[in-house]
């Protein structure tokens, strides 16, 4: 277990790196010339990063998570409500755990 000084230094280090990552994207974009291509890139990027988070999570889990996400996506497309989509996904996952462990 690290000593007090090392522990607080580590916390400060991780906080600094995390804050820098939050500020860096918008700052870097102030250095890039605006164009239609940049706009299309950002547009594609914004939806792609969410799709990538879903892909990465599903690759590390199983059918339970995949079924929950599929149901949530379906409910979102049909009902247009994120809260209903989440409720459906959570209910399916809870039911799956109760049924299959």
């Amino acid at each position: 277990m690290p000593g007090d000084f090392a522990a607080w230094t580590a916390i400060a280090l991780v906080a600094a790196v995390t804050l820098t990552s939050r500020l860096a994207g918008a700052f870097l974009m102030t250095r890039i010339h605006h164009s239609a291509a940049v706009e299309r890139f950002l547009d594609g990027l914004s939806v792609s990063v969410l799709a990538a988070l879903v892909g990465s999570a599903l690759a590390q889990h199983g059918w339970r998570e995949a079924a929950a996400v599929a149901l949530a996506a379906l409910v979102m497309m049909r009902a247009g409500s994120a809260v209903w989509a989440l409720t459906a996904g959570i209910a399916l996952a809870a039911g799956w755990t109760a049924a299959f462990g």
């Binding site: 690290p2 580590a10 995390t18 939050r22 918008a26 950002l42 594609g44 939806v47 990538a52 996904g89």
Partner: protein
């Protein structure tokens, strides 16, 4: 030169926007409580002091970075490796910030910093859709982030003080909240035909490379590929 804000009313950051964003994301943010609790429990088990656990959630506010830090919580601490891992798991924030830049960069620098300090996956997902639909108040992003931050920290405190009394979030299906939320947001965007190919490419790459790239880098690679596909496809 800044990326230009979309034409229309000026971009602002107001308290009313903060409240609107906070209210909108509250149902999702509530589900963050058990994950904050899980971090509090795991950190306490690693031997972190309560003050350190609470401070870490308050100033870092990144589940991925905080859980990764616990893997390095040994003596001596490997500060270089810790910084690199924190950068890797947080690098997607750079992409999120870049995607929000047309709105955020229209604000004066102090307000930019204020809004981006609370940037997370969830309030990005919610705000980006709202901004594209005509929301002009970046307070919406900040408000969503603040309710996430509060829930993350309350959850952490519960875990740090009373973690052993809490059950397993998976039994209640709570472990799938975030991935379901992202899946729902992506599904809503698929109504735009131009989003289908970037989504398919990003999903396939992140899914297929998760075992071959360091933590987090598969997401970055996939997101960049999706962005490039969007440029190439519509340029033709």
């Amino acid at each position: 030169m800044d990326t230009q804000p979309p034409p229309g009313r000026p971009i602002i950051l107001t308290f009313a926007g903060v409240l609107r964003g906070g209210r909108r994301l509250l149902p999702v943010a509530t589900f963050v409580l058990p994950f904050g609790t899980a971090f509090g429990v795991a950190a306490a088990e690693k031997g972190m002091e309560v003050a350190q656990i609470l401070a870490m959630s308050a100033v870092v506010f990144s589940g991925a970075a905080q859980f990764a830090t616990l893997d390095f919580w040994t003596t001596p601490l490997a500060f270089g490796s810790l910084a690199l891992v924190a950068l890797a798991v947080n690098a997607r924030h750079i992409i999120l910030g870049a995607a929000l830049s047309p709105w955020v960069n229209a604000l004066p620098p102090p307000k930019r910093v204020m809004a981006l300090t609370m940037l997370s996956d969830a309030n990005f997902a919610d705000s980006h859709v709202a901004f594209k639909s005509g929301e002009r108040d970046v307070g919406y992003l900040l408000g969503g982030g603040l309710v996430m931050w509060v829930n993350w920290n309350v959850g952490t405190a519960i875990g740090a003080f009373a973690g052993s009394l809490i059950g397993d979030p998976a039994a209640f299906g709570l472990d799938v909240v975030m991935v379901c939320f992202f899946g729902a947001i992506v599904a809503a965007q698929l109504k735009r035909r131009t989003a289908i190919l970037p989504v398919a490419v990003a999903f396939a790459i992140s899914f297929g490379t998760v075992d071959h790239l360091p933590t987090g880098w598969n997401v970055i690679l996939a997101a960049l590929a999706g962005g490039l596909v969007s440029v190439v496809r519509r340029a033709r």
